[in-house]
C-alpha cells in the first residue's frame, strides 16, 4: 500500500493524495440511497500529464480507477465498487478558451457548472451554456459523460449533444483527442465530418476514459427571459400540450411537474414554459404564440395559465434550488430519483405509476419531466424524499425506485445515469448484437477492466 501511495505522491505531490479515513469516508459515498464503497486512495491531479501518469500507473498495477467530478449523481456512479483509486478532477478547473464568434468553450475536466456560468456572465454576457438543475459544484465533464440535460435541452438536445470535442486519457494511459481538435487548433466539432468516435466515451460513465478537456457549445443569452405555467388536471392531455407547445419553436425550456404538497399544487400537472427575447415586443409575441397554441385546452376548461406572481423568481433561477427544498420536506435531507429518458406518449402511464408507488411505499413524491430536443423524448424524473436517519424509509425509496425502473424499462424507456443494477437490467433487455459492440468497445479500450469497474460491465 505504501508503495502505491508513494508512487501517487511522486505524480501529484503530497497534497494531491490521501488515504486518510476522513477522505476515504467522504469519497466512498454519494448523497443517494446506495451503500458506500471505500476507495484505497484519493488523488487530485492538476494537469493532464498527471492524469496520464496516474492512469498509466493504475493500468500497470491493475488498480481500479474511478474518475470523479462532484459526485452528485445520486445513483452511486463514482462509488469505487472494487476499491482502488478515486481520481477527483476538481483541481483541473481552468477555462482554457472561449471562441465567442464560434460560440464554444474549451475547459478542463474539473470545471464546474457554476464556475462556467459565472465566467460567462462576467466575460461573455451574450453567451450561456445549458446549465442543469444540479448543485453548481457539479462538473461539466461529468455531466456530458452521463448524457446530462440542462436548461437548453429542449432547444438543443442532451448536454452531450453540445460537446464539440474531447481530450480523453484512455484506460491504457494514452491521451486521445476527439473531433476537430484532433487535426488542428479548433474545437468546433466532436465528429462531423470525421467518424464520430465521441460515442466511445459519452454515456460510458467514465468506464472508457478520463475526460481531461471538453469543448462545449455555447448559445445566445437573450436579455429577457420569462416563464408561463400552464396547468391541467388531466395527465392524458400532457402529451398533446407538449406537442402543441413545441410546435411553436419558441420555447427555451419545457418542464412538467406535479407534487401533492403544498396544497396549491395538489392534483394538477404544471407545465413550465420558458421563453426568451431581446425586446419586450419579442417576449410578448412569443407569449401570445404560446397562449394561442393551447387555446383548445383553455376553451375546454381542461387547462389554463396560472398566475405565477411571487413564484416567478424561483422558476427563473438557474439552477433551481427548489429541489433541495423538496429533499427536506420529510426532514433528514434525503432525495433520490429515477430519471428514465422516455417516449412522451407514456407520460400519463408513468404518472399513474408514481401515484401507485407513493401510496404503496408511503412516500412523499415529486414528479418532473423535461422535454428533450423539441419533443422527441422527455427525461421523466420520479423523485422520492426521505429522512436519512430513517432506514425503513430509505429502503422503501430504494424499492420504489427499483419498481419504477422496471416499469419504465418495460415501457421502452432508457434509464438516465443508471445505477449498476439499472445498467444490468438495461443490458438484459438489450439487443445481443448491441451488447456485443459494447463489450468489444470496453474490452479494447480497457483490457484490464480498471476504469470505473462495475459500470457498463458486459458479462
Amino acid at each position: 500500500m505504501s508503495d502505491i501511495l508513494n508512487s501517487l505522491v511522486q505524480i501529484v505531490g503530497e497534497k494531491g493524495v490521501s488515504n486518510h479515513p476522513e477522505e476515504i469516508w467522504f469519497y466512498s459515498r454519494d448523497p443517494g440511497t446506495l451503500e458506500p464503497h471505500e476507495p484505497d486512495f484519493v488523488v487530485a491531479p492538476r494537469r493532464v500529464d498527471e492524469v496520464r501518469d496516474i492512469v498509466k500507473f493504475a493500468y500497470e498495477k491493475s488498480i481500479p480507477l474511478v474518475p470523479m467530478g462532484n459526485g452528485m449523481a445520486l445513483t452511486g456512479l463514482v462509488r469505487p465498487l472494487k476499491g482502488g483509486i478515486v481520481m477527483d478532477m476538481k483541481r483541473m478547473n481552468k477555462i482554457l478558451e472561449v471562441n465567442e464568434r464560434g460560440r464554444y468553450v474549451v475547459l478542463e475536466g474539473g470545471v464546474s457548472q457554476g464556475q462556467l456560468k459565472a465566467y460567462l456572465e462576467d466575460n461573455y454576457p451574450h453567451l450561456r451554456h445549458s446549465i442543469p438543475d444540479a448543485p453548481p459544484g457539479t462538473t461539466i465533464a461529468a455531466n456530458v459523460a452521463l448524457h446530462g440535460q440542462g436548461r437548453l435541452t429542449q432547444q438543443y438536445g442532451f448536454n452531450s449533444d453540445m460537446v464539440t470535442g474531447l481530450e480523453v486519457v484512455l484506460p491504457t494511459g494514452e491521451v486521445c483527442k476527439v473531433g476537430s481538435c484532433s487535426i488542428g487548433p479548433y474545437w468546433f466539432s466532436k465528429g462531423p465530418s470525421l467518424p464520430d468516435i465521441s460515442g466511445l466515451f459519452l454515456g460510458w460513465l467514465g468506464a472508457t476514459g478520463v475526460f481531461t478537456k471538453v469543448g462545449l457549445r455555447l448559445f445566445p443569452r437573450k436579455s429577457l427571459r420569462d416563464v408561463e405555467v400552464f396547468v391541467t388536471d388531466r395527465a392524458d392531455l400532457v402529451e398533446d400540450i407538449i406537442y402543441r407547445l413545441t410546435h411553436t419553436e419558441m420555447i427555451e425550456d419545457l418542464t412538467i411537474w406535479f407534487q401533492p404538497k403544498p396544497m396549491i399544487f395538489k392534483d394538477n400537472y404544471h407545465i413550465n414554459v420558458y421563453f426568451t427575447g431581446d425586446t419586450e415586443e419579442e417576449i410578448e409575441f412569443k407569449r401570445k404564440m404560446i397562449w394561442d397554441s393551447l387555446k383548445v385546452h383553455m376553451d375546454s376548461k381542461d387547462g389554463g395559465f396560472m398566475g405565477v406572481g411571487a413564484m416567478k423568481a424561483t422558476f427563473l433561477e438557474e439552477p433551481q434550488r427548489s429541489i433541495a427544498a423538496f429533499a427536506d420536506v420529510p426532514k433528514g435531507g434525503g432525495f433520490e430519483y429515477s430519471g428514465p429518458i422516455s417516449p412522451i406518449e407514456h407520460f400519463a402511464k408513468y404518472t399513474a405509476k408514481v401515484y401507485e408507488l407513493a401510496a404503496k411505499y408511503n412516500l412523499l413524491f415529486a414528479g418532473t419531466a423535461r422535454v428533450i430536443s423539441g419533443g422527441h423524448a422527455m427525461m421523466y424524473g420520479i423523485s422520492f424524499a426521505f429522512n436519512r436517519a430513517d432506514k425503513e424509509m430509505m429502503n422503501n425509496v430504494k424499492e420504489a425506485l427499483e419498481e419504477a425502473n422496471e416499469f419504465t424499462l418495460e415501457h421502452g424507456s432508457i434509464p438516465w445515469k443508471p445505477t449498476v443494477s439499472e445498467q444490468q437490467m438495461t443490458m438484459n433487455m438489450m439487443d445481443p448484437n448491441t451488447l456485443k459492440i459494447m463489450k468489444m468497445i470496453k474490452k479494447n479500450l480497457d483490457p484490464k477492466g480498471i476504469m470505473n469497474p462495475g459500470n457498463w460491465e458486459v458479462s
Binding site: 396547468v231 396544497m263 395538489k266 394538477n268 419586450e280 401570445k288 376548461k301 389554463g304 406572481g309
Partner: protein
Amino acid sequence: MYSLKHDEEVCATCPSPDCLLKCQYMDMDKEQAHEEIMKVVQGEDSLVLHKCMTCYGCEEYCRRGNHPYYLICEKREEKGILTAARPITNQWINMTSMQGKSMTGAIEEKALSCCLIPELKGLGRGRLFEDIAPSFIVGAEFMCPAVHTHFAKMSVVKDRLPKVLENYSALNVKEVVCLHDECYATFTSIAPAYGIEVPFEPIHYMDYLLEKLHVLKDEIQPLNVRAAYQRPCSNRLIPDKLHLVKEIMDLIGVDLMEREYQGENSLCCGEILRTISGYQLTDDVQKRNIDDMAASGAEYSVFNCPFCQTTLSEKAIKAGLKPIHMIDLCKMAIGEKQGGAIK
C-alpha cells in the same frame, strides 16, 4: 347552507338595469340588459353566465342592493359553468383550504386581520399600527373566501365563511381591522347578503388609518406628490368606502389625480381577467389602465390590494410610475420606511 337574499320582483320591476347596462365587458341596450338579467333570475341560460368577467362591478351599479353579482355566481355554479379552467379553479380551492397553519399574535379585543397574505403583516407595522400589530391574525382559517366568486364557487364561500367567522369568534375579538379590502367587503357585503351574522365589528383599514393620521397630524410631512389610485374589484362591494382614499391622500399631501378610469369606471388589475379570458382582454385592459394612470400626470400608482400591486407593478414601473401600497404612502408621510408591500 345559507342562501342568497335576492328578490326577483326587484329585478322584474327595475326601471334601469344598470347591473348590465353599465357592465364594462358586455355591451347591451336597456331592453337586452333587462331580458338577460331576468333570464339569470329565472334560472334560464343567459349570455351573462358565459361572458361575465367577475369584476364585481354590477354589485356597485345595482342601486337597489339586489346582489346581481352573487346571483350570477350562484346560477353559474348551479349550471356547472366554469369561469376559469377547472384545474385553476381547484387550485384556488386547495391553496386556500384550512390546514391549521394560521398564525395569531397576542390577541386582544381589537385585532388586525392580514387575511392569507403574509405581506400584509409587514405592512401592518410601525407607528400607524403600534396599537394593534401585536394582535395580528393571518392564515387560511381567517381568510375571506370572496375570491371563489371569481370561479363561480359560491358553495365554497358559503361553506367557508361561517367557519372563518367561528374562528374569529373563538378568539373573542370585538373589532377586526381588515388590512385586505376584500375581507372587509366579505364581512359587510357577502355575509349580510346570505344572512350570515358577523360576530365582531369589521373596520376597514382606511378608516383606521384616517383616525391614526389625525392623531399623528402634527408629524405628517406633506408628500407633495401626484398619485393615481388603482381601485380593486373588492371595493366595488363596498363603494361607501371609496371616499376614504381621497381623504387620506388629502391628509398626507398627495394630489389624487383625476382619471378616466376611476370610481364606477375603474378598471380591474387584470389578473383575474387573464385567468378567465386570456391575454387579449387582459392586455387591453391593463394597457388602458396604465396609460390612463400615466396620462393623469401621476408620479405614483397607489394600490389598495396587494394582488393588484403584484399584477401591475412591473407595468407601472415601465410606464414611469412608482407603485406603492396606500399604507406605505402613509408611512412615508410620517417619515417611516416602507415595509412589507409587494414590490
